[in-house]
């Protein structure tokens, strides 16, 4: 049955071949730089100095990874922190986002316009770095804890509005009327009926949120001093910014700077850090993707 439907509905073969060609070309453009990054991360520093970045380096080296592994326990601790922050942060963030977005989606919600504006306004206007820092640190007391990393980036008005839009395009208004006639409460409608049929949207926004948590290094830099809570991205970013800073200010810092710089495999290290960050999240990606490209099964639920 399904197969038949697909066959009827499929595009013609020549068109599909063209589609494949376009996609393959674009995907090559996307993946080659990453392969390049991986190659450089294994390149000997001496080779980079001689011939620059190249797909075919003169000499290979594990020095960059060795340098990172020397962080020892801190590295694994930070890996754990990153996972913990990403999972917990995404879960809480999604819960709050979905509830807020769902209420905004409900046309019969009395304060819909107000709360939409309340959220949207923050997308454009903010107090800036210093006032936000002061509020977080002194008013809310966020420092040196997991909360200090999770809370400041809990909501993103952009994601929230995207979520609302997903509800709009995948949840028919009649469904809610039907549920309310059946006597389903607001919360149970949301959790039992709406969420299951909005999986593609939730998975997408969830993915974006998880990526944001995983990639964040600036907020930990501001609010976390204790090495116990430092996530991976910040740990690696510290190395990166150190290298950059020393290169830029070497004349001011003097001999010590050039000492430190020469002991660093600066270029390959930079790339190795990218690899270490990207690989775990790339593995987590298919989990979300299952819901984003899921073929034809969803329609039947709506009936």
């Amino acid at each position: 049955m399904k197969k038949k439907k697909r066959a009827i509905n499929a595009i013609s073969i020549p068109v599909e071949i063209i589609f494949h060609i376009i996609m393959i070309l674009f995907c090559l453009a996307c993946i080659i730089p990453f392969i390049f990054v991986v190659i450089i991360s294994f390149t000997d520093q001496e080779s980079i100095r001689q011939i620059g970045y190249s797909f075919t380096p003169v000499a290979w080296s594990l020095e960059a990874y060795r340098y990172v592994v020397r962080l020892g326990d801190q590295l694994w601790r930070s890996y754990f922190n990153s996972f913990f922050i990403t999972v917990l942060g995404t879960a809480i963030s999604m819960l709050v986002t979905i509830m807020y977005a769902y209420a905004l989606y409900r046309r019969d919600f009395k304060y819909r316009k107000f709360f939409t504006f309340f959220c949207f306004f923050t997308m454009l206007f903010g107090g800036g770095l210093a006032p936000t820092y002061v509020v977080c640190k002194t008013v809310l007391g966020l420092s040196d804890s997991y909360a200090a990393i999770i809370v400041p980036m809990l909501l993103n008005p952009f994601n929230l509005i995207i979520m609302r839009t997903f509800f709009q395009s995948s949840v028919p208004a009649e469904l809610i009327d039907a549920a309310s006639i059946d006597g389903s409460g607001e919360y149970s409608t949301l959790f039992r009926i709406i969420i299951p049929i909005s999986k593609p949207g939730i998975a997408t926004v969830g993915l974006l949120t998880a990526l944001a948590y995983w990639n964040e290094w600036f907020i930990p830099m501001l609010y976390v001093k204790d090495a116990k809570y430092i996530p991976l991205q910040y740990l690696l970013m510290q190395m990166q910014t150190k290298v950059d800073f020393l290169v830029k200010n070497s004349s001011m810092i003097g001999a010590e700077a050039s000492n430190i710089m020469n002991s660093l495999p600066a270029d390959s290290l930079r790339m190795a850090l990218v690899v270490l960050i990207v690989v775990p999240i790339a593995f987590a990606y298919p989990f979300f993707q299952r819901y984003i490209i899921s073929g034809l099964t969803i329609g039947s639920v709506k009936g």
Binding site: A10, C27, F34, Y53, Y100, Y111, K113, P131, T132, V278
Partner: protein, 321 residues
């Protein structure tokens, strides 16, 4: 008797409407509290844009400093317009944004439809995963890759050109190529992100609509035109509106890092964020940077309001609010 039943029913209706409002409000509340604490409270800092921030030495907390600093009116905004380059960076910022909003929309929607139509789902998933990779790479890393191609002495492209008897191009000193290079870089990095949004929206489309269309005898292209695109409309409109809000913002990393901060390229690479950044390295005045940000957002706000009005005219359901 029937009258009393009716009034009772009405009462019940009323109270259930009240309960509904309360319940829905309770759903919004956690988020609203967060917005209030973390976004609205710090907004008091916006007045920095109109002040000359100095320390109140008797008790230097941020709020005290803020209150006791002198008002300077619009002085902090002056730097944005007093330069001979104002027109240049305004033009660049707006032109790149307009071009990229349109281009990004067309390409992302096309890619989403292509991915959706490819029959081997596994292949489609692979494409989609690969497409997302550039999003992981920071502009700094991307700039190394661009450099590997364009390096004036040992780049791949100049190597190719010279070995084929053509003259090498000094890419980092020739502004005329950079609108193209920047456009390609921008598409390359951001398309995966918006494609996934459209793709998820397509996946969420009720398949019975396609079945109905195909029973009516609509071909694949007609289905795309008559079913897919109309269903994508809310997403397209929302993303458009939100992108329009960033019309006076620019991706600092792209314009600063990828051209390697090369001075000779300014006519093609100077945008508002790079301009403000360079001013800040010279003055480091928190009032001026706040003023710059405020102006960007005000312009974005006005543009969003206009865009939203237009969209509301055309299709109320797709508007932002």
């Amino acid at each position: 008797m029937s009258a009393t039943v009716q009034t009772k029913k009405k009462e019940k209706m009323l109270s259930s409407a009240g309960i509904k409002t309360i319940l829905l409000t309770s759903m919004v509340l956690p988020g609203a509290i967060w917005f209030f604490l973390l976004r609205y409270l710090p907004m008091a800092g916006i007045i920095l844009a109109f002040k000359n921030y100095k320390v109140y030495t008797k008790d230097p907390t941020f709020w005290n400093n803020l209150i006791h600093s002198k008002w300077v009116g619009l002085k902090n905004f002056k730097f944005l317009f007093s330069t001979s380059d104002s027109w240049l960076y305004i033009r660049n910022t707006l032109a790149y944004n307009v071009l990229w909003i349109i281009l990004g929309l067309v390409v992302a929607v096309a890619f989403a439809i292509i991915l959706n139509e490819i029959t081997q789902k596994f292949v489609a998933k692979t494409y989609q995963t690969l497409m997302f990779f550039p999003y992981f790479l920071s502009w700094v890393v991307a700039s190394y890759f661009v450099l590997a191609f364009l390096d004036p002495t040992r780049g791949l492209l100049d190597h190719y050109l010279t070995s084929h008897g053509m003259a090498a191009v000094d890419w980092y000193n020739e502004p005329k190529y950079w609108p193209w290079i920047l456009t390609i870089c921008n598409l390359w990095k951001n398309i995966g992100y918006s494609t996934i949004l459209y793709l998820a929206a397509i996946t969420g489309i009720d398949t019975t609509q396609y079945e109905a269309a195909s029973i009516d005898g609509a071909g694949k292209w007609q289905q795309i035109w008559n079913v897919t695109l109309p269903n994508l409309r809310p997403m397209i409109c929302i993303l458009l509106i939100m992108n329009v809000g960033k019309i006076f913002n620019s991706d600092f990393g792209l314009f600063y890092t990828v051209p390697l901060n090369s001075g000779s390229l300014f006519s093609a690479t100077q945008v508002i964020d790079t301009y403000i950044y360079r001013v800040m390295t010279a003055t480091n005045n928190i009032g001026m940077s706040t003023a710059g940000g405020l102006l960007q957002n005000l312009i974005g706000f006005i543009c969003i309001m206009i865009a939203n009005k237009v969209v509301t005219r055309i299709d109320e359901d797709s508007s932002l609010f």
